[in-house]
Subunit: 338 residues, 2 copies
């Protein structure tokens, strides 16, 4: 018992061997089995390990970004688009125009923030999800290549997001613009909206948060329940915690613009959430969803069977990926005005 | 590889010790720790065990129903109500009238189906959730004490549900009535609506499905991922599978009125789902939710942090329980007409 007379008892879970479920599409089964095979072969970063200095961070970032970029040709072939490199308010962005551009939505625009723990997926590796979002929505997407550690910890990413947002907003109504992103990109989408609210500025017309990294303290229950279960973000301890601390820097991981689960969401625009039952950020996602519902925000929660963290981006040939992005596109169609 | 050249690779999860998370209320923490303590003490049914004949089933049913009934006084004290025993179409029901009855909703009625794997929680043990539903909605609830195995396997429960429904519907519009239930009660709510659709009869105005037992074949991914993690329904193998087969009988577990995940949901009324991140039926829940969305049904999904299967019924002093039932009450307020 603790001081309050509360029992604090751990729950012991025996080792288990998870089959690839038959309840998902063959394509998603292939993704799940492929990740299991990679884990069995000892692939990925060592459990519990994190870089110890800027040089080690840069080496692992370069290696992982190259790996992320290796799928770009397959995405390009399946989702034809053009990508134009631009600078907005001094921030590097890529303007993604899908070949499926819907002229009826020409007045609307999506703003995208890539994932990767505020550390990975910078540069050309940043746009995979933006391309999928553009394809399924038929809308132009501005994908923000925000500054990141080790050189640029918090609040650089939030500052870049706000700076780009202000320029885009000068040209069109805020209500015509949606913001979206997955993982750290979902967290940064939340941080942008919290910061705009703090500044008394107009928020986007709607948000789409893919398995948002909302609690960088590691307290969410799914960090333990889905540890090793999630095939993409398999452990918070080690590399995940290292990214959290590298990003937060002096502000600390409990700052509400670093860990938006500690934010206050009244007045937020309609928001859709996407996660999966194997997602290590399942709890981060449902906790923010619940906080928004409590604050009276129009919110929708989508949870996909057997899906790991952000797997709808990587298993982009799976029908579940199409459904995830179609849900987001439909939500923007319902809520953006322009 | 299998015949289709598909990799089938298991994912190995090491043993783990789950802390009680700090991300839920003190009351829910107490519930989670209490279940962990009971598991550590060797409480509950032996893993993998199921009764082998009717006499063994009856013995374990009597023991577990007595345990369920032991919390009735605490529920009665916290949620004052009257319970009137009635017969409708030859089926035993209990009419629950909460002390919080809202006269503005006098034209509306809720119909409740209890959980317990189609085997447990018959008789006086059946009404705990009905009382909570009545309290938080301010509405009268008819709780159906449907026939169960070992004497009465499928389709007795569905037949009883349809028979009661027809009598209630003769007195008021179907659109003024909501149907709800948890676990097997959620599965039976689905089976009732599927059967009414098959018969060409009018469906309820709205449904509330608490962690519905929708796939009695055991294929859902959360059966393996949340095995041992869930503090209430900890393992499908053994007792769970035994209940499934005892209930299904000759119809088999793939019959869509036994495992409604195999049903077709077009034309269904608005439906709200409630589950938790530790729920062994998380996958059953999200799979039916997704099938309804695909069928164009208005559906809402609520997932509670760190909650086990149906824990919102048992941890009825937790604020999370109140939120779960308030969500359901609000959903019925929005969608029932009468």
């Amino acid at each position: 018992m603790d001081d309050a007379g509360q029992i604090q008892m751990n729950r012991e879970i025996p080792a288990k061997s998870l089959k690839t479920p038959t309840t998902v599409s063959p394509e998603l089964q292939r993704s799940i089995s492929g990740m299991a095979a990679a884990a069995a072969a000892g692939g990925g970063l060592p459990v519990g390990w994190a870089p110890q200095n800027a040089a080690e961070w840069k080496a692992v970032i370069a290696q992982m970004d190259a790996q992320a970029l290796s799928v770009a040709p397959a995405i390009k072939a399946m989702f034809p688009h053009t990508s134009e490199l631009r600078q907005i308010a001094g921030v590097t962005v890529r303007e993604i125009t899908p070949s499926t551009l819907d002229p009826a939505k020409a007045g609307k625009l999506l703003v995208h923030f890539h994932g990767g723990g505020y550390v990975l997926n910078g540069g050309e590796a940043s746009t995979g999800e933006a391309v999928l979002g553009a394809h399924y929505s038929g809308m132009k997407v501005i994908s923000v290549d925000y500054r990141m550690p080790p050189e640029h910890p918090f609040p650089a990413a939030v500052d870049d997001a706000v700076a780009v947002w202000r320029v885009l907003r000068a040209d069109r109504p805020a209500a015509a613009m949606g913001a979206f992103g997955t993982s750290a990109g979902g967290g940064l989408t939340l941080a942008l909206a919290l910061k705009l609210k703090e500044l008394g500025e107009t928020l986007p017309g709607a948000l789409a948060l893919g398995t948002p990294w909302a609690d960088l303290t590691g307290a969410s229950d799914s960090y333990q329940v889905n540890a090793h279960v999630d095939g993409i973000f398999s452990n918070f301890d080690g590399f995940g915690k290292g990214m959290a601390e590298l990003y937060a820097g002096a502000a600390g991981v409990t700052h509400p613009l670093v860990s938006p689960v500690f934010g206050e969401f009244s007045g937020f625009p309609p928001t859709v959430f996407v996660t999966g039952t194997r997602d290590i950020l399942l709890s981060d996602t449902v906790r923010v969803y619940r906080a928004m519902r409590t604050a009276g925000v129009t919110a929708r929660l989508e949870v996909h069977e057997a899906m790991s963290h952000a797997e709808y981006i990587y298993a982009f040939d799976a029908p579940e990926s199409a459904v995830a992005f179609q849900d987001i596109a439909q939500f923007f169609d319902e809520h953006l005005k322009g």
